[in-house]
């Protein structure tokens, strides 16, 4: 099973990878991208089974990335891992089809509980 981590901060991509391991998901194959445009290229080339995306990124935001996936007909489970988690953003995320929104800082327990329905 493959997971795509999208974040413009390489430090944060490392933290997400580490937290996935701590949550018991160290067996997942990890793909990475640093913005929505590059993430879309990864999806075209090698579609993942699950996507973790930051919201606020240069070039193409996480929400724009999700909308682009929707337009292209992809049905990959998609969740935001973001610093911003206001009710308005949660509503926008849900409306666009996101399955979950994890706010930073997060814990391995949060990852474990949130990912359970999506990880084989």
């Amino acid at each position: 099973m493959k997971i795509l981590i999208v974040d413009d901060s390489s430090a944060m991509r490392m933290i997400v990878r580490r937290t996935l391991r701590e949550a018991g998901y160290g067996h997942l194959e990890v793909l990475q991208a640093s913005d929505g445009n590059l993430a879309l290229e990864v999806v075209h080339k090698d579609p993942p089974d699950l996507i973790f995306s930051d919201w606020n990124m240069p070039n193409k935001s996480g929400l724009e990335f999700l909308e682009a996936l929707n337009e292209e007909g992809y049905k990959i489970p998609f969740g935001f891992v973001t610093t911003e988690a206001t009710p308005e953003m949660r509503a926008k995320a849900t409306q666009a089809g996101a399955k979950f929104l994890i706010s930073k800082p997060f814990t391995a327990e949060t990852f474990a509980k949130t990912l359970e329905p999506y990880v084989k």
Binding site: D8, S9, S10, A11, M12, M14, I15, R18, N56, M57, P58, T82, T83, E84, A85, T86, E88, S103, K104, P105, F106, T107
Partner: protein, 160 residues
Amino acid sequence: MLQIASGPLIPSQLTQATLQEIAESIWSSFLELELRPVADHSGFATTTSLLTGQVALQGDWQGFLTLVCAKPIARKAAAAMFNIAPARLDDAELHDTVGELTHILAGNLKSLLPAPCRLSLPVVTEGYNVPVNEKTIVKILLQCENHLLQITVFEKENPV
């Protein structure tokens, strides 16, 4: 005891205690580092080898959040985030770490501000580079393993 300055457009939750709680939560969960408050800010701005991260908050309330930290603690934080030895880190990785920490601080602060509110992407520069013409709302100085970091929230004096 530090004095808490507050502006009319900032919710009452925005205090030094709240800002410190946010910072401690981030440093503890992501970096496993402990922060302690320091009362005396004098001389901090002239500390050598500082990095400044800044994020703009734009919306009904407009301002900035800055994180200024000594490079040794930026290096320590980056080592924890990248899980590599501090000596192997380059400047880009230090800037990335300080930028991300600034952004997470601002994102957590955003929930306390009037909606709508948008965050800019973080900008990281060398030295002490906080806004000089804006009003300081809350400022805290913290110590992490004998190095200092300062977090300040500024209100824009002439919002667009």
